[in-house]
Symmetry: C2
Subunit: 353 residues, 2 copies
């Protein structure tokens, strides 16, 4: 009763377990490729030519299909997933990649209420770019997108952007994979951030790893491979880690830890917004959901100095993107802990100002 299926996103009643986040993403993409080709064959068996040519890594058996991802996105580091990762050159340089398409991700300005018109236009521009890219790439069978671009700098887009994205994928008949390896697990206030978008049609697949201590992806029946063992691995996830996930889920339910993340996150955001008014050079663009939050310093140098000074003051805090700081507390992080963090942060930014 505390298994992965009890927290499955609405509409996704299948789960595939894997060994790590990258494996989860690549297996989800593999399922999408298989489902697409199965549909193209009209459910018919593989052709002899497909079976022969794939042994030579050539079409039609190894089809020239692609996955669209977003600038700033991070989806893992093995060669397939890495071809969808677009966050930093250091992850990609020197490694062969599939020539797959990419679309711009909205560059939102904060505070949101002062930039509503700009942000709406920016999101509309990106949706149009996605549509153009998918139309120009008929062999692009799926898109993969994060609810918040974690590694890329905690870039968010609005729920209406994601609803429009889902509409485009449905209209153009492409799969939508939502990569919640970093955002899933409850500290956004819900088990899955995409549940906060109000989608009419759920995504086709949702990946998970990190915070849940076990990896894999949820999916709908369309992404179930036509034959057994096509999407496979010797270990296919780890029973010890599945038990850890079960215990995490059990305690999160028992102690209302998702609600705690919502409450703590609201407190943290309100206080960070106050600090950002006093110290805009070090704290700006406060954003996030639940305790899954981030803010920016004015420059990469100021960000690095702030991370260093926080560590000297006893608080380990992580950078992301070029000038952002990301907060990724555990589910048990309460307003009391947030208070300790905020006191230290205030002391440090005062010293730096």
């Amino acid at each position: 009763e505390n298994s992965l299926m009890t927290i499955a996103p609405k509409g996704l009643d299948q789960v595939f377990t894997a060994m790590c986040g990258t494996c989860a993403v690549e297996c989800a993409l593999k399922a999408a490729f298989m489902a697409h080709q199965h549909k193209m064959r009209g459910g018919a068996p593989f052709t002899e030519e497909e079976l022969t040519s794939c042994m030579k890594n050539l079409p039609p058996g190894s089809p020239n299909l692609s996955i669209m991802s977003f600038q700033g996105g991070f989806h893992g580091r093995l060669l397939g997933a890495l071809s969808t990762t677009r966050s930093k050159a250091i992850h990609k340089v020197d490694l062969p990649a599939f020539d797959w398409p990419v679309a711009p991700f909205p560059q939102i300005k904060y505070p949101l209420e002062q930039h509503a018109a700009h942000n709406a236009a920016e999101e509309e521009r990106c949706i149009q770019a996605v549509r153009d890219t998918l139309i120009a790439n008929p062999n692009c069978i799926a898109i993969v997108v994060e609810p918040i671009q974690g590694e890329g700098g905690d870039n968010e887009a609005s729920p209406s952007f994601y609803r429009a994205l889902r509409e485009v994928t449905l209209e153009l008949d492409r799969f939508m994979v939502v990569d919640e390896v970093q955002t899933g697990g409850g500290n956004s206030g819900t088990w899955w951030v995409h549940e906060q978008w109000g989608l009419e049609t759920p995504p086709d697949a949702v990946t998970f790893a990190k915070k849940l201590q076990t990896a894999g992806f949820y999916h709908n029946i369309n992404l179930r491979p036509s034959e057994a063992y096509r999407n496979f691995n010797t270990w296919l996830g780890d029973p010890v880690r599945a038990m850890m996930a079960g215990k995490i889920i059990e305690i999160a339910k028992r102690d209302n830890l998702l609600e705690n993340s919502t409450i703590t996150g609201k407190f943290l955001k309100d206080e960070l917004l106050k600090l950002s008014e006093q110290f805009p050079g070090l704290i700006s663009n406060v954003r996030g959901r639940g305790t899954f939050m981030a803010f920016d310093a004015e420059t990469p140098e100021k960000r690095d100095a702030l991370v260093y000074n926080m560590r000297q003051a006893g608080v380990q805090t992580g950078g992301c993107g070029v000038r952002s700081i990301r907060l990724r507390p555990q589910l048990v992080f309460t307003p009391t802990h947030a208070g300790v963090y905020l006191d230290t942060l205030e002391k440090v930014v005062k010293q730096m100002s």
Copy 2:
């Protein structure tokens, strides 16, 4: 004192841990790509063009480099590793692949003493094909090879074949990755099968997973990335599994389990050879090292029937290749256990004959 480094192959004093066998192979290949490009730059930093182009998945930052593998080889199922897997179409069909080169693997005939001339000529033909393939593909920076092609049907080649292979890679300046995900772990009689080849120069990398319960690869200093975090993963292996591997290594040393595998394997092979003289339609081409063994039935149908009948008689036994049966006992498998297996096998093959 029972860590992974105490069983490191000779000459490889670095280890990288990963989450599964496929991850181990791909991370080893990533290390080879990085090392090659680093060498091509003469140790200079990345160029601006490399850093920019890799974000678009285009050369020179995403270089058009390749890995050569062998027909019948199996190296995993994620998209990079899968481009080197050549065992069965069902693993590959419908999935995009890198257009990487492949070479023939020796098709050895048994018993070895009756086919010495054929086998030597066959291995020479394959070495020549490897050389031709590498010369024709200057962008092919490494080869990956199994000591025994497990998934492909327990195909073996002689130590002299592998010594010649190592010489070709050194002569043509390519890396050699030995994939011991299936063969490593001690039941061949040594921790690593490639240690039985008598190589003058060790391979550049050796992968492991499966039997050791933890995954990764050993490598020499040349395959150490130029910067930290280039070959990386959130979990980078699992401490629980590392402890399991440590305990396996401890007990294997304490109880001389590698020697046990050698002794048990010799008994098993001798008895299987006797049975193969009586029942050549069901048991032929007996081969292997230690208890890592296999034999062939005359046809796929006979193999499948034998697997089925063995299961009915209480023994679970696995197929591989098109008509082979593979034995993969644990390290604690003694001659007593082998006797139980052989008695059941004899009873079943008599009934089937």
